[in-house]
Symmetry: C2
Subunit: 447 residues, 2 copies
């Protein structure tokens, strides 16, 4: 969507840059090498062949579900690209692919960059993929331009981001339940699957990285929402990955004959549900902020045209960067549910079954991303990530920053998922600029 | 629910009564024999054994689905009861059981009384069954008290009222589609099933009764709604069987990620559906009358907690005695749908897929039922039948009248379906009184 973009490749004055604080970078008139946008595009197109519908094109999207044949083939291509960037790919016991480019200062911890290349069934060619291949392109650019960084640069292509168990979770926390030694068939299947991508379910604990073992983690990703596209802003600076609460609402009315039961004698669970759906929307939009609330799943019993619904079960999902706000909105919806139950002569219960804490992005990294974008003449805006990402797992072991690029029409998890090639290149260049700025910044300690 | 009831059996002054108009019956101080309430109860209890859940009692309801073994056994009991009432049961090619008691005037057409004894799966012991066994009890009472009627009295126990093809439809109209000669597997199955109850699919046309071939049809039935029970009125006088329109509403929004799509950018099909559900209710209740409207079936796509619903399909069913009103309400809902589509940025289509004309009860028969009830000291109220009945088919060949008795709590098509024994006896006595009043009334012609 944007047209402002630099293609000129300027050699870094590395000796000078290394002494400058991050925010002085642009003011000092320094520049950074630019990624090869055509090569980045070609790598996305090449990878799209693995999992593409038979007879389809790039525009038909991809089903490269983790552990599938397509995933195995896609991972092989990614490793080939890593080798072309001068890296030696390694697969850990959780199936994560990594490759490290040494830095000049052996005392420094690595700057980790990456994402994932597995997709949802019927997914698109950008979600995770752009961040993974841009990370490789960034390293290849450093290599081509002989830019020596102080920190080691490490690429991580996390396994199975779209499913469970997530490779990034296994790398940053305890062994995921599905990989624990167990006779349960689901666990056995997960362990078998992991072996197909070179993992070792018996040794997953060995994949764990210690908290504080990285300088930081940077992930470029498509927004998957429509904010940047609508606002015509090429770079999003992620404030954090939202907290999520999910509730199940059960409404008990009385199923009865739709012909013989007069309107005033009804206890219609679906009318109560309709009021709940509107209440959830109203409560979520009644105050300013980026919070979202959704009734996404709803089931009616007995679900026949000539029977008054006796029972409705539906979900309520609430997301915001503040878990306090998420909890407060849920409480307001639960209070409204009791009013609706009284109005409709139904019984309503609302039970929370999922609670995820937010993962906040590091403030200094947000500033660094903004500076890197500004250096390229790219406008930015801060926004929360409503979707989950590997970054929320990796935030457990070090400072995390995320760069978003626009999703055309906000579409994602769909063959129609698209980000313009210009925006892809912008994102990769901002990732490179941020990485170099962080690398040059003298840091006192871990964070 | 009621306690006023006559048990005294008084011999009819038939010669005198025969000359009196219907409404003068009570004023003339005449009385009619009363049915044997205990015998009626016993017959209901006996029939309940066929299709009862294993190890259950009367209170556990019954699954006597048409053509099943339980149906075959139940029909055998009904025929045995008919024989005990002096009738010779006959099974027509559509599986309907009938039995005729001759009248004194060979020029008169029969008064037809009856209902059905098949049930829904997991049904109760009253729906159809009360009307069928009360009809037999009425004839047995006439027989015991040696009451000679002028008209023949004919009992009809219609086959497969709860399913398709209905025996009463086959007896009053063209051969139902499912019994037409055809190689379609569904038709073959229906024809095989019909043979199990003594029908003959090849000769179903022979079961058809000509329009004008009956003096009238009277059917006693449980209300299946909660109006009589709520109003504490023991006898309902049915004004007719309602017209029914069913619509399918399809709402197209845009499915999207529930985390990444800000509230103002959503096109949520379920929010539009919630507004439709409330609109259907509001439009149906905004004017006086007995009309009902129901959203009974609703399906969400893709139906996941973390995805904004992209598509909702739901039904709208509207019922009223006036098909004009039903059409007008549907049109108002369709107009509202377009407003909602505009408000929610969705696309809504509303398509009628079922239209049933009403079957109005004969006004003179309504008056006769009221008089018969008054003669027994029973209060009445007029009300539409929101449910379909054999009577709506039989109305095609002659004047139709229906008597309702209260359903406790309005519950039906459920093992919990119940009508007090006192109300059952009241209904049977009103059926008997109405029959005798009609029999005595000098009628000029067919209707």
């Amino acid at each position: 969507m944007t047209t402002t973009r630099r293609r000129a490749v300027l050699q870094l004055a590395t000796g000078l840059a290394a002494t400058l604080p991050v925010t002085s970078w642009a003011r000092a008139g320094l520049s950074v090498p630019a990624v090869n946008a055509e090569r980045l595009r070609r790598s996305l197109e090449d990878l799209s062949a693995f999992g593409r519908p038979a007879g389809g094109t790039f525009a038909d999207g991809v089903s490269r579900v983790a552990y599938s044949e397509a995933d195995v083939a896609g991972r092989a291509l990614a490793m080939q690209l890593m080798r072309a960037a001068g890296l030696t790919p390694v697969v850990d016991a959780a199936g994560n692919i990594s490759g490290r480019r040494p830095g000049s200062d052996p005392s420094l911890r690595p700057i980790l960059i990456g994402s994932h290349i597995d997709t949802v069934p019927g997914g698109g060619n950008f979600d995770g993929i752009l961040g993974s291949l841009a990370a490789i392109e960034v390293v290849r650019t450093l290599e081509e331009h002989q830019v020596r960084t102080r920190h080691p640069i490490e690429i991580a292509i996390w396994s199975n981001e779209e499913g469970d168990p997530m490779g990034s979770a296994a790398a940053t926390g305890p062994v995921p339940a599905l990989l624990m030694d167990s006779a349960a068939p689901a666990n056995a299947a997960a362990r078998d699957a992991l072996r197909r991508i070179g993992g070792d379910p018996a040794k997953v604990a060995s994949a764990r990285r210690a908290p504080g073992s990285i300088r930081c983690y940077l992930e470029l990703h498509i927004e998957q929402g429509g904010v940047l596209d609508a606002e015509k802003v090429p770079i999003g600076v992620v404030e954090g990955i939202v907290a999520i609460d999910q509730y199940e609402v059960t409404i008990e009315g009385v199923a009865n004959h739709a012909g013989t039961t007069p309107m005033p004698l009804r206890q219609d669970a679906l009318i109560a549900a309709a009021k709940m759906i509107e209440a959830v929307n109203q409560i979520a939009t009644a105050e300013p902020g980026a919070q979202v609330a959704t009734v996404g799943k709803l089931e009616v019993t007995p679900n026949a045209a000539n029977v008054i619904p006796g029972r409705v079960r539906h979900t309520v999902e609430i997301r915001d960067l503040s878990s306090d706000k998420v909890a407060r909105l849920g409480a307001a919806m639960a209070r409204r549910a009791q009013q609706i139950a009284a109005e409709t002569q139904t019984r309503i219960t609302m039970t929370r079954y999922l609670h995820l804490e937010p993962a906040l992005a590091d403030p200094a990294l947000q500033t660094a991303i903004e500076a890197a974008a500004a250096n390229l003449g790219l406008r930015t805006m801060r926004l929360p990530s409503g979707a989950g990402h590997d970054a929320q797992e990796v935030a457990k072991i070090g400072p995390m920053g995320m760069i978003f690029v626009p999703s055309v029409g906000g579409v994602s998890h769909s063959p129609k998922e698209f980000t313009t090639w210009a925006d892809c290149a912008n994102g990769a260049n901002v990732l490179l600029g941020t990485l170099l700025a962080v690398d040059r910044k003298r840091s006192a300690g871990a964070r």
